[in-house]
């Protein structure tokens, strides 16, 4: 299955615009609530009409403003699952699943197949509200797939469940993707969920698709400061390019000299402004600056605050130079204990050149929190 999507719509002051395409893969639409993720699903499902654009699934045009095509949601053949599931409370599980099945097929046989696929055998006569949260979730998925849907649209389907159940269902979803070869569009505002599930990631903000690409690309090479912020980069430094040679650039980040790897295809020149993104878990703690010559990107800093999250600690450092830059460092619980960070507050931070991502500067102002 393939999905080609491009649409724009004005909803009062909210302007939506996005374009992306996908194959047999799981596309995660990520962003805060109100960023345009659910709007995208509603447009694919035919529940919301774009002002313009083109939407096609497997080559079949569902919407095209240029030629005036706008298919009804009833004939689009999408499997749409919403956050509160919207199971029909007055029907049993089997009737819920069979609701969307076209006439002429062997309903009983198909329902049996789906019950088996979603491990719901024995529950066919039960009302949805008598099932557990995870079972209800699986009924909703089975119902969405009962029409041999060409594309599965999932709008934060797991957000109401507790964490252990969510992990099970995520695995189930990945299994389903392998088995059925579907295009799945999955909406979430949970960064960890997005990272776990995504083949492709679409980052939305304020109605715009900021960046679309493979998961690693988005996480390692955010296109702009906002994408970096949304995908959990806490260290974003303003910098001016001083020198560019081959694959590296030397920059000045408010008094801090740093050597950074140049992202492929970038065109930074001397005196350009740049935003530097450094993930907190990429920063290395050292007891002192190594004596070997030719090494760069070390800076002395002291801990100003720390948060313990159980499995990991987030430490906020302030550099010791003339301008005190704030740099977050995330470290797992075990190294935290082994290194004795609880006692020792002064460290040398190493920002490896490969882990500093340069982005064209935006006018968002200084990063200091």
């Amino acid at each position: 299955m393939t999905l080609e999507f491009s649409a724009r719509k004005r909803l009062g002051a909210f302007v939506y615009e996005a374009a992306f395409s996908a194959g047999d893969e799981l596309v995660v639409l990520f962003g805060h609530s109100g960023a345009g993720k659910s709007v995208t699903l509603a447009m694919i499902a035919g529940l919301l009409h774009p002002d313009g654009g083109r939407i096609a699934v497997d080559g079949k045009v569902l919407f095209d403003s240029a030629v005036g095509v706008d298919l009804q949601p009833q004939v689009r053949n999408t499997g749409y699952v919403v956050q509160d599931l919207a199971l029909f409370p007055h029907m049993n599980v089997a009737d819920n699943i069979a609701f969307g099945m076209p006439a002429g097929i062997n309903r009983r046989e198909r329902v049996r197949e789906l019950l088996e696929m979603f491990r719901l055998e024995g529950f066919e006569g039960r009302r949805p509200r008598t099932l557990s949260g995870g079972q209800q979730q699986r009924v909703a998925l089975a119902r969405a797939l009962a029409r041999e849907a060409r594309i599965l649209l999932l709008d934060e389907p797991f957000s109401a469940l507790d964490e252990s159940l969510r992990a099970d269902l995520r695995r189930e979803l990945l299994r389903l993707k392998e088995r059925l070869g579907l295009t799945i569009v999955f909406v979430t505002h949970d960064l960890r969920e997005a990272h776990l599930l995504a083949d492709k990631l679409a980052v939305f903000d304020n109605g715009r698709l900021l960046q679309y690409g493979g998961r690693e690309e988005i996480f390692r090479q955010p296109a702009a400061r906002r994408v970096a912020e949304l995908t959990g980069v806490t260290n974003i430094l303003r910098a001016t390019v001083e020198r560019v040679d081959d694959d590296y650039a030397t920059v000045d980040a408010t008094g801090l000299q740093l050597r950074c790897g140049l992202p492929p295809g970038s065109s930074f020149a001397e005196a350009d402004h740049a935003d530097l993104a450094v993930r907190a878990e990429r920063v290395i703690l050292r007891r002192s600056v190594p004596a070997e010559p030719g090494l760069s990107n070390f800076v002395e800093a002291e801990i100003v605050s720390e948060d313990a999250y159980g499995a990991s600690h987030t430490l906020q450092f302030a550099t010791l130079g003339a301008t005190r830059l704030l740099i977050d460092v995330e470290i797992a619980a075990r190294p935290y204990e082994v290194l004795g960070i609880g006692q020792l507050k002064r460290w040398t931070l190493e920002l490896p050149p490969e882990d500093i991502h340069m982005m064209p500067a935006t006018d968002a102002g200084p990063t200091a929190p």
Partner: protein, 282 residues
Amino acid sequence: MTVDRPGRRSIGGISADQPVFAAVAIASAAFAIFFLAPFAGLVYRAAQNRDVWHLLSADVARQALVLSLWTSTLSTVIAITFGTGVAYLLARSSFPGKALVDAIIDLPIVLPPTVAGVALLVAFGRKGLIGQPVDHWFGFTFGFSTLAVIMAQLLVASPFYVRAAKGGFESIDPQMTRVAYTLGASRTRTFLRVVLPQTWPALLAGIVLCWSRAMGELGATLIFAGNLQGRTQTMPLAIIQAFEGTSLGLDGAIALSLILLAVALTVLVLFRVLTRRAITTG
């Protein structure tokens, strides 16, 4: 077995509560007596006086009951036919002036029925806004006919149905209809298979309210339809006339009231049984 009460030592607090509790209990009892006394009085008078039972079968009583039953039922059917769609639109769509439409539908609930009667007369009476041209072109008058009875009931009672139905439709998660559409169900099929099965207890409540209100309609009917035995004289009008002594007298009024009481009780019990079934199967 002894139960350890953590609040044992604050006996002062508990005893301070007791007079309040006693006052509420007495007030509730008084209120209950106030509610039961009138109905007890009706039954008591009827039991004492054999004439009452005789009057139950009088022509006036029979005609009024038959008229009341079929006009109320017909106006309720009309309210369902036209009101269901209106209620669904009000619950599910937004359009300019929706708040105004909403308020206008509520108006007859708040307005005294006599005002509704005057308003009907001004609009559909022989000299009315619509009544006059209709009379002029077609030689047809609305007023003082059985049709006028139904119109009065419809105006006063149908808002109760629309209101209840709207509440029922609003309680359905809009996502449910959206999902039904993506599952291939047309609007009609979605309404019949998804919305209606979940809202029918609310619709039934609306039907009962509407029908009861139509059965009890007096003010608007009296003004717009008049009090003509066999044509516009419904039960409440017959009771008024009996009470004024021009037909069956006070005993007649009691007899007619008893009939209405019996009808009301039957409807209430039926409604309870039906909605309970709806809740247990729904």
